[in-house]
């Protein structure tokens, strides 16, 4: 009698258990996705991959440079998220809520990450240390009221067309290319100049994509970006033009023997992918996802380069 009544119950409990396990896993997955996206942690990995790409392109030996850049990226980007949590509450309420909830953890985590990055950069010598301090210096100047006149000057850079994205792209390109060079005590060669140019223009493009999402807010705040000044359609055309300029530059560099075949193919594949993404500009409103897809391009590039390298190219 008891077995008859227990069996269905067990079956039901078992089904429920499977469902609850799946639900719990799904919840963990959602939280992990939130943690990766809202904290910009995915950028940390991509930043490391960018440095690895630069090191392969420049044939540099293994060094802590990718780790240093990853730590700096975490410290600077998540530090910005903490500082802008109140402002973000209006435009990105979910992200702001996530950052506010883990504010203390992020605060200590970013401080520790920056400390570790600086300590590791010292191993690369004074130049590596100076490079490691660049993002932090910009972050301090942007986010603080310290040295008000200087702070205001740098804050104004954020509002000037092209300059705002160019400053970010320049700082990023310097870190990605020059830090591994400093670790290797390597000179700034023509190849380094090409790789530098690639990362500069590519970062510029990737910086303008999130600006498409924020164009109304930027216009209200007096920040001049490509979408604010030229509109969405012309921005798409400008992004096409920049990506095509890069394609031409990379092809020329290959032709001049400055860039290896595997790296040239990898970058061109990545630029083809970037042109496809640019097509979506004005044809979607999911610019957040478009920006993440744009950053993920570096994974494609390094995968192609490694695959070609393994194939003997």
């Amino acid at each position: 009698m008891s077995s008859q009544t227990d069996s269905p119950s067990l079956t039901w409990d078992g089904t429920r258990s499977v469902y609850s396990t799946l639900a719990a896993l799904f919840a963990y997955g959602v939280r992990a996705k939130d943690a990766l996206v809202y904290s910009s942690a995915y950028l940390v990995f991509i930043a490391g991959v960018e440095v690895v790409t630069a090191m392969i392109a420049l044939s540099l030996p293994l060094s802590p440079a990718p780790l240093v850049i990853a730590l700096l990226t975490f410290a600077v980007y998540v530090g910005d998220r903490i500082a802008d949590a109140e402002v973000d509450a209006a435009t990105s309420p979910e992200r702001a809520a996530f950052v506010t909830r883990y504010r203390r953890l992020f605060s200590i985590g970013t401080a520790a990450a920056y400390g570790l990055a600086v300590a590791l950069a010292i191993l690369g010598g004074p130049t590596a240390l100076a490079i490691a301090l660049i993002p932090g210096a910009f972050w301090i100047l942007y986010a603080s009221d310290w040295l008000p006149s200087l702070g205001r000057y740098f804050s104004r850079l954020k509002e000037i067309l092209v300059v705002n994205s160019a400053v970010v792209a320049l700082a990023w390109a310097v870190c990605v290319v020059c830090l591994p060079l400093a670790y290797a005590n390597h000179a700034f060669t023509p190849t380094a100049a090409v790789v530098f140019g690639y990362f500069f223009l590519d970062t510029f493009v990737n910086t303008e994509i999130p600006n498409l999402r924020d164009r109304e807010g930027d216009a209200a705040n007096g920040v001049s970006t490509l979408p604010v000044v030229f509109g969405v359609r012309r921005t798409r055309h400008i992004l096409y033009a920049l990506d095509l300029c890069l394609v031409a530059g990379i092809a020329l560099a290959f032709h001049a023997g400055v860039l290896g075949a595997a790296m040239t193919v990898g970058i061109l594949v990545g630029l083809g992918y970037a042109l496809c993404l640019a097509w979506f500009v004005g044809r979607t409103e999911r610019y957040g996802r478009l920006a993440i897809a744009g950053e993920a391009k570096h994974l494609l590039v390094v995968a192609v380069v490694v695959a070609l390298g393994a194939a003997g190219f």
Partner: protein, 558 residues
């Protein structure tokens, strides 16, 4: 790889120094985010200076040539000299001693660091670093440090460190757990590099001539991080306490003069300085007898009281007191003279005294004269009316006198009198003046005592109950209800009752030209009851009459 190129000592030192840089930089960022809270900026400077010091040692160890090593050795001094200044700045600002952080003081503190930095920039001298070196078996280049300026910087560093400790120690003895925790962790943070430096100077460490002090700063960084995260360092800070106490001392509407054990003035607030009418500089350090000649009288409990400052019409009267200041062992370490302006009160008292004399003497004399002359008119109505009005004027004068005496008694210590004696007198008086009124009196026990000022209250209430009564049978009842702490006297009559407007005015405590009572009697009841720390309640009786309940505290110690 650097760890393969360099020797074991170098690798170990470099690793530890990098840890100190990482911890110091991390703690500096956390402190940076706490700006502009007191102490945040100097703590950032302290940690940054320490990180720079460590960094320079690492670069020195990594440098391939002797000149490059000397260059990093010299540059490291920038961090060395900034650490003690930043520490002292932090300790002073965090504990609210910001008055020492004015530009002249900071400039004075910066002289030694500035000279040191100048020596670093100039180079080519052996004031800081003597350019002689030896290379140890472990490959580490050992430099001779100890030029004349080296000793100056070392002494200066220890001196500023001690000054900072003196400020922070106060936190350790705080009542607040957070402040105690902050104080202990901050002292641990200072002690670690200090002890390490002493050990290095005594040759206790086998660090091949490399000063391991900045390595110990990683312990400081951990301590500061712990203080920030666990004890709310910078979040819950004691800086306002000192300023707030000073603000209250300076801003209070009472004069305060602080004396040492020898009776010399060591501090005085703004109110006291204004009242004394002399510059602050002429007061501080002077014997109190020179500033307040009546000090000895004020100090004596038997003769303490009013103090007069200023001459002639501009002179003002103050109520003054002298209180001893004691330390934690209950030892007298000084005293404080406090005084507040009572000139207005004294003037009011003088006016009351004059008013009392006029009410008591002049009105009675004048009404007696009117009464005497009115008798000469004969038995006509005019004579009777004039005499009645003269009696009413005298009665008003009497009430006024009672009121004035009531106020006079507020200055005196409340004297206790047996309630039975007070009521006996009142009942006897009313039976005498109103023989046609039946006064029923429930006499209380003899041991119940109340404030003597209540005699006027009961006198007015009982007389009022008898006077404003009509009809053939006029009754006044006086009952007493005794409680442990209080006693209630209930006076009832069967008269027409008191007009509601009268009781409303008394209850609200103020009159106007349009809204006022008809005399002083009920006011005397209210004021007298208030002085006796009691309360009065009026209620109408059915079908007619008034019940007044006066509840006052017993003063017989029951």
């Amino acid at each position: 790889m650097w760890w393969l190129i360099y020797g074991r000592t170098t690798v170990l030192l470099t690793t530890l120094l990098l840890v100190s840089v990482a911890v110091g930089t991390g703690a500096a960022i956390l402190a940076w985010r706490e700006r502009p809270k007191p102490g945040a900026s100097p703590l950032v400077a302290l940690l940054a200076a320490q990180a720079w010091w460590s960094t320079c040692i690492v670069f020195r160890l990594q440098a391939a040539t002797i000149p490059a090593k000397i260059q990093w050795l010299q540059l490291g001094w920038v961090g060395v000299v900034c650490v003690p200044v930043a520490w002292l700045y932090f300790a002073l600002e965090y504990t609210g001693r910001d008055r020492y952080l004015r530009t002249p003081y900071i400039a004075a503190l910066a002289v030694v660091p500035a000279i040191t930095v100048a020596l670093v920039v100039l180079g080519n001298h052996d004031l800081l670093v003597i350019e002689s070196y030896t290379i140890g078996t472990d490959g580490v280049v050992r430099f001779e440090q100890g030029g004349p300026w080296y000793a100056v910087v070392a002494g200066y560093t220890y001196l500023l460190g001690l000054c900072g400790v003196a400020a922070i120690v106060e936190l350790v003895t705080s009542d607040a757990v957070a402040f105690r925790g902050q104080g202990v962790t901050l002292l641990i943070g200072l002690a670690a590099p200090w002890v390490t430096n002493v050990g290095f100077l005594l040759g206790a460490f086998g660090t091949a001539g490399v000063d391991p002090t900045p390595i110990a700063f990683s312990v400081s960084g951990v301590a500061y991080l712990g203080a920030i995260t666990r004890y709310q360092l910078l979040e819950t800070n004691p800086a306002p306490r000192r300023r707030a106490r000073q603000l209250v001392f300076d801003g209070m509407r009472e004069g305060a003069i602080v004396l040492d054990t020898d009776g010399h003035v060591v501090d005085a607030n703004g109110y006291a300085i204004d009242a004394l009418g002399v510059p602050r500089g002429a007061v501080l350090g002077e014997p109190i007898e020179r500033i307040v000649p009546e000090y000895d009288r004020l100090r004596d409990e038997n003769t303490a009281g009013h103090l007069r400052l200023g001459d002639g019409d501009e002179g003002r009267a103050y109520d003054a007191a002298v209180t001893d200041v004691t330390d934690v062992h209950d030892r007298c370490i000084g005293s404080i003279v406090t005084f507040h302006d009572v000139s207005t009160y004294v003037r009011q008292r003088q006016r009351l005294e004059v008013l009392n004399r006029i009410l008591r003497h002049n009105i009675r004399t004048e009404t007696n004269v009117i009464h005497g002359y009115a008798e000469r008119f004969g038995d006509g109505d005019a004579s009777r009316i004039v005499q009645e009005r003269a009696e009413r004027i005298e009665a008003v004068g009497e009430k006024g006198r009672q009121a004035v005496e009531l106020f006079e008694r507020t200055r005196e210590t409340q004297t206790a009198r047996p309630l039975a004696v007070i009521l006996d007198e009142c009942v006897e008086a009313v039976r005498e003046t109103h023989p046609d009124v039946d006064v029923s009196y429930d006499r209380p026990a003899d041991d119940i005592a109340v404030a003597g000022v209540l005699a006027a209250v009961f006198d007015n209430l009982i007389e009022n109950a008898a006077t404003h009564n009509e009809g053939d049978e006029r009754n006044v009842t006086i009952e007493t209800r005794v409680d442990t702490d209080d006693v209630a006297v209930v006076i009832t009559d069967d008269g027409p009752g008191i007009d509601t407007q009268e009781t409303d005015v008394i209850r609200d405590g103020g009159e106007s030209a349009l809204r006022h009572g008809s005399g002083l009697g009920l006011w005397i009841v209210r004021w007298g009851t208030e002085i006796a720390d009691g309360k009065t309640e009026f209620s109408h009786r059915d079908p007619t009459g008034t019940e007044v309940t006066v509840t006052v505290p017993r003063l017989d110690g029951a």
